[in-house]
Amino acid sequence: MTPTERPTVGLFATCLVDLFRPSVGFAAAKLIEDAGCAVEVPKGQTCCGQPAYNSGDRATAQRLARQTIDAFARYDYVVLPSGSCAGMIRIHYPDLLADDPLYAERAKELAAKTHELVSFLVDVRKVDAIKGRFGETVTYHDSCSGLRELGIKAQPRRLLAGIEGLELKELSGPEECCGFGGTFCVKYPEISERLVDDKAIDIEATGAATVLAGDLGCLMNMAGRLKRRGSAVKARHVAEVLAGQTDRPAIGEKD
């Protein structure tokens, strides 16, 4: 595809964004459109299947994978505002459906054109800088799946560096797991609490006003713990800041 063409992106909002924070979906749509693409949101999407997959329920995960493939196969790209869900499609769908005669090839095809949002902007659409303003000191949490399955580390920092007024202060352990882990956080709430508490302490120590990340699961976990600690630090999805859509209250803040 030549750069002059306008590819169509199927936006997979992810279940958490759909249910809890639609504004991330709109921010993602704006960023994708600004990067020269058309955006469509197919109705056949629900969840990528990761909760079932990581809980050992392969059959349900396979059903959801096939459903997702059917919903998104027609697009030039599939983009998700989540490293974890993008990793599920890119890395795990081909494995999950490897023995499915009808879907094995289609799973590989979908995997090849699926991207996490910020990685899509930087690595695929070659976006160097985004014009915007956010007059706050922020810190950034590298969500595990995006970081280790998809290599997302430099991309969000590169785009954030172009946002006027924004100062990034790194965490002492940006690559430490926040303790969300999908169903882990409710299966082992006490262990999860320790991990997210350590993360909250690290976030507070940076002096940042807002913590940013690319995955809503981690963000809800960190925001929930920060609020429980009585911390003033806010949490936002990185897409909100990049899209300049920060008029809504931060995650877990009142209207």
Binding site: V17, D18, L19, F20, R21, P22, S23, G25, F26, A29, V41, K43, G44, Q45, T46, C47, G49, P51, A52, S55, G56, D57, T60, R63, L64, Q67, A71, C144, R148, E149, G173, E175, C177, G179, G181, G182, T183, F184, C185, V186, Y188, P189, E190, I191, S192, E193, R194, L195, V196, M220, A223, G224, R225, K227, R228, R248, I251, G252, K254, D255
Partner: protein
């Protein structure tokens, strides 16, 4: 193999409340982790070395029978004995028989995880043989009647004040008023006590970091020197090893050594690497008169050819444990198995059965750091997930989890119904938050809200809001 009774969940709660453990785990992050990072950065060919190590181990696992037989033949040619043991019980009996054959009253031991796996100490003591651990960490936990909480730093959960308490309780012959405030004083005391045991022991038992097929040598990689005294001074030396410790050649052993030390402690090489092959020869100046290798299977051969075969590449460096957030929160004992952390959570169900160890593979966030630091590139997260799949298939998954998954799966695979349900549910949840932006507690969501607020949904779902905007 069990280090502690009780479920992981219950043990974890107690561990999280232990301030000594919390301090110890904080040191793990600054110690092992940063030392490994520095050592790896210093070696440009580290990744190439990992590839070589991985390929070598895969080759060995594909030809394990050949290399085991080669190794056994070399040991026997040199006058050593090889004891093939299918189970923990057979291995314990083999060790006891050798000890009895030597008329042994006392046994000294170097650090061996196989010994922990088969519960050797209790067995020997039950049969009237005094059994003394000589690795300082192992000695400390033996005095405290505990299992190791880490595979290379068995007493990592203990602070020096607790060591002093354990020494005072055990070394009752010494002056009760002696100072034991400094690490040096503790070391000197341990050394003096252990020296007597080294000299009096009839049999020395060590583990093995690798078994070299080409020359029948066994090797231990240590930092204290206790292993050498354990295996050289008594009249008999027993090497306890599991079958996957085989490497074809001395050059392969060097590959493993270089990976192991850097990944484990951040050292380029450990202080001691000791090879032993067969009993003392006529012109040797020292060494044991008898040399035995007890080779343990205990479920490992059943892992060959299956989804967990890659786990047999493990060289027990503990890098996965040192980088695991869950281990860093709860320590090793909470897992209940002598093999803890990611490697233990894959290995324990393989060796001890899934029904017994099903909790371990679940107690992971699947953050993936273990696989990144594993020198043998073992796909630990994939295998943890694979255990969960088996658990689900065998209906071992707890009923509430199954029921929750089934209900959610029913909805999620019916997009129209799902979107309708969510469009109705989210405003209700938002209403519960009553404009506060978050919920401090919510029925049926205690797992979340016990320790953190639940950010409230904005109200309208993205799907609904997007469709509404498109209509305008």
């Amino acid at each position: 193999m069990r280090s502690q009774p009780g479920s992981l969940k219950t043990n974890a709660k107690a561990a999280l409340a232990d301030p000594v453990l919390k301090a110890a785990m904080a040191k793990l992050k600054t110690g092992f982790r940063s030392k490994r990072a520095i050592a790896v950065d210093r070696l440009p060919e580290f990744d190439a070395l990992r590839d070589r190590g991985q390929a070598m181990k895969n080759h060995v696992l594909a030809n394990l029978d050949f290399y085991l037989e080669q190794f056994a033949a070399r040991v026997e040619e040199q006058g050593g004995g090889v004891h093939w043991c299918r189970t923990a019980g057979e291995a314990r009996q083999a060790v006891l028989d050798i000890c009895r054959g030597q008329g042994a009253k006392m046994v000294t031991k170097g650090k061996s995880m196989i010994s922990e796996e088969i519960g050797l100490n209790d067995w020997l003591i039950k049969h009237g043989i005094e059994t003394v651990e000589t690795d300082l960490g192992e000695y400390i936990i033996q005095l405290r009647h505990e299992a190791p909480s880490h595979i290379i730093a068995p007493a990592i959960h203990v602070n020096r004040h607790q060591v002093a308490d354990a020494f005072r309780a055990a070394h009752t012959d010494l002056d009760a008023a002696r100072p034991l405030d400094e690490p040096r004083q503790l070391l000197d005391e341990a050394r003096a006590m252990l020296r007597q045991k080294f000299l009096a022991a009839d049999v020395g038992i060590t583990g093995a970091n690798f078994l070299v097929a080409e020359n029948g040598a066994t090797a231990i990689v240590t930092n204290e020197g206790n292993g050498d005294l354990t295996q050289i001074l008594p009249k008999a030396h027993i090497v306890l090893a599991s079958l996957e410790k085989i490497v074809p050649t001395m050059a392969d052993a060097a590959t493993v050594m270089r990976l192991l030390a850097r990944s484990a402690t951040g050292q380029e090489a450990t202080s001691y690497v000791t090879f032993s092959a067969g009993p003392r020869r006529p012109d040797d100046k020292d060494g044991p008169k008898a040399f035995h290798v007890v080779l343990l299977d205990n479920g490992r051969s059943a892992m060959l050819g299956g989804p967990f075969q890659d786990m047999l590449r493990c060289i027990r460096c503990a890098a996965c444990i040192n980088h695991c957030p869950v281990y860093g929160a709860v320590g090793g004992h909470a897992y209940g198995s002598v093999y803890c952390g990611p490697m233990g959570s894959v290995l324990s169900p393989a060796l001890g059965g899934l029904a017994e160890w099903a909790e371990m593979p679940n107690a992971s966030t699947l953050c993936g750091r273990c696989e990144i630091v594993c020198p043998m590139r073992i796909p630990l997260p994939r295998m943890l997930r694979h255990w969960r799949t088996r658990e689900f298939e065998r209906h071992l998954t707890p009923l509430p989890v199954r029921a929750g998954l089934a209900a959610w799966g029913f909805l999620a695979t019916r997009p129209t119904l799902y979107h309708l349900a969510m469009r109705l549910a989210m405003p209700v949840l938002a209403w519960f938050a009553k404009g506060r932006g978050r919920l401090a507690d919510l029925p049926l969501a205690g797992g979340w809200t016990a320790s953190r607020d639940l950010p409230a949904p904005e109200g309208e779902t993205f799907q609904a809001a997007w469709a509404r905007r498109k209509r305008r």
